[in-house]
Amino acid sequence: MPSWSDFQPFIVSGLALGGIYALSGVGLVVLYRATGVLNLAFGAVGAMGAFIAWTLINKAGAPGWVAWIACIVFAGVVTLGYGLIFGPLLAGRGPLVQSVSTLGLALVLFGAIDLLWSTSAGQSRSITFPTDNGGFMVGQVQVNWTSVIGLGAGVVITAGTHAFLRYSKLGTAMRAMANDREITGTLGVPVRRVEAAAWFGCGLLSGIAGILLADLAALDDTTLVFTVVISSLAAALIARLRSIWITFAAAIVIGLVHDLVTPITSLTNYRDMTPFVLATIALLLMPRGEILTRSREEG
């Protein structure tokens, strides 16, 4: 069993990862509450954005910050585009169908990434931030700035989203729509515009998560499209697609457990199972009562 000092660096990286899962999870939950769609392609758009950023930096010689902004904007625009087209097309089909449709988008992007940035020549790509090398010491642990950004982004975005939903007009409209879309429409709320804002916001968050993960984890399509999606989804699922603060807490726990398992040699190879195990436990403990009511369409 590893010692406490062996675990310490993984607390830092776990928190950073958790923060990123949290900001992705929050984006997922808000979009789901506002539009009824669980955007399973959020990992893919962020991934493609990260690869585009890599090309801009390494092939076009663009400065880092331009590339990162391009990544975030790209993710936002693609997600918004998808929402504008497929939102109306699939309206009324239910969350399951609409969410499965986003898997189609994920496949398209995944295939495109493989085509455009193939790894057949054996090259490995990476994204680095200038903050990777600086840092400070907390006790005996080295904390680099990028990890701080990761966790900080998670906290700031969760708190910011909470404030946005509570205090801004657009946020209140989103909350109203989460409660009952039809009535909100009849109240004169511009439902389409609110939905578009939700899609765009979720896309921006995917871009942020994508570029951060590309730095902290790996610039690899399978990791970015699937592995991290599963972690953020697990966090959202544990929060029953409802509370953004529980999403945040669950995401931090998932990130921490995942990384803290790393130094335990007997378990280390299985740490990517963490989200699955935690989500299954949450499902087992989930109460049945309210779930059945929601599955019926009538009022």
């Binding site: 969410s99 499965v100 898997l103 399978t222 499902l283």
Partner: protein, 366 residues
């Protein structure tokens, strides 16, 4: 109080379902196709295509299971890849570790897979469909992680049956009566037919009716006293069983199993091809099997098209099918053909003025 005043005795009528012309035609075509597949194809196929068609037969079973879940019960599972891996792993372990006859191993792999698949999805079955999709996606992730560490058995000892230091990896054995590639191909087709018949039998009986009811309205089903969780579990058990059997067939077909042959995106492409092929019909499952196993091999062999283009195509297909044609190719193709036929007929024979006669049987003109 029995009232038989109707034009025909309803009880007798419902017992004897007189097959109409459409069903007979379909049955003939299917039988002909199967005979073709079993007897006409093997002599003319090269080794490459024999292997490919064996994969098609195997994946048709997988799409059969997933099509059952999605099309008949309305359960979207993204975990069939995981189930396939479990089946293949179990079969490989048994084939290496024991001397049991191949068919017995097939059944055992199916049963093990059935138990694991049902148990894992059980917590999600009581909840919204979206949760089932999510938990099965995570299951696929988890199984691919375990597989990366555990690896497929390759003749080693111990629980995992994997020995990383083998220089010469033994091949998984095949049944004594189907050792050669063409013979194994026929064997796979026959197993596939048996699996289809198994599912077909379920669909015609009480489970099939319960599933139809659950798919449309879970509330009405509950109100009628149907234990929806039980029937959903049954569907998942059946789908897991056939997929486990398919996994066992895969072990015998490939003879050496590698984890990179089961990338996680396949859990999504499987759903994609089932949706595109047509989730609501057994024919759709066959089309889906071809999409999954034949199309990539064919395109690569003939035109050197890399697999990534197909992934993109499947992604587009999912979105298109969900948005416009929920029945997939199996549903859309006959409709398109009929429309094409009517279009051609109108060109060849100028139509009568009234629109009603355009769809009439004889197409007589005034």
């Amino acid at each position: 109080m029995i009232d038989t005043a109707g034009p025909k005795s309803p009880a007798a009528a419902s017992l004897m379902r007189r097959p109409d012309r459409g069903t007979l035609t379909r049955a003939t075509v299917i039988t002909a196709a199967l005979l073709l597949a079993l007897f006409a194809l093997p002599p003319i196929m090269t080794g490459y295509y024999t292997d490919t068609m064996t994969q098609v037969a195997i994946y048709c079973i997988v799409t059969l299971g997933l099509g059952l879940l999605v099309g008949r019960v309305g359960m979207y599972s993204l975990g069939q890849l995981a189930v396939l891996i479990i089946g293949a792993w179990t079969a490989a372990r048994l084939l290496f570790g024991t001397g049991q006859p191949f068919i017995l191993v097939l059944i055992e792999a199916g049963l093990v897979t059935m138990i694991i698949g049902s148990l894992i999805t059980l917590p999600a079955l009581r909840l919204r469909g979206l949760y089932l999709a999510l938990i099965t996606l995570m299951l696929s992730g988890a199984v691919t992680v375990v597989l990366a560490t555990l690896n497929f058995p390759n003749g080693g000892s111990g629980f995992s049956g994997y020995n990383g230091s083998f220089l010469h990896i033994p091949q998984i054995r095949r049944p004594s009566f189907a050792g050669t590639d063409p013979a194994y191909y026929r064997f796979s087709v026959i197993v596939a037919i048996v699996m289809f018949l198994l599912v077909f039998a379920h669909l015609r009986a009480r489970p099939g009716r319960a599933w139809a009811s659950i798919r449309q309205s879970e509330a009405a089903s509950l109100a009628a006293g149907i234990n929806t969780t039980f029937y959903k579990l049954w569907a998942m058990a059946l789908a897991s069983f056939v997929t486990g059997v398919a996994g066992a067939l895969l072990a015998g077909a490939d003879r050496e199993l590698f984890s990179i042959d089961f990338p996680i995106q396949n859990s999504i492409t499987l759903l994609a091809v089932v949706l595109m092929g047509g989730a609501f019909s057994l024919v759709g499952a066959v089309i889906a099997g071809f999409l999954q196993a034949f199309l990539p091999a064919f395109l690569y062999q003939v035109w050197g098209v890399p697999n990534d283009w197909l992934i993109i195509l499947f992604g587009v297909g999912v979105m298109q099918v969900l948005a416009t044609a929920p029945g997939g190719i199996a549903d859309q193709f006959p409709k398109d053909m009929k429309r094409l036929y009517r279009f051609i007929r109108r060109r060849v024979r100028p139509p009568a003025p009234s629109p009603a006669s355009a769809s009439a049987k004889g197409g007589e003109t005034a």
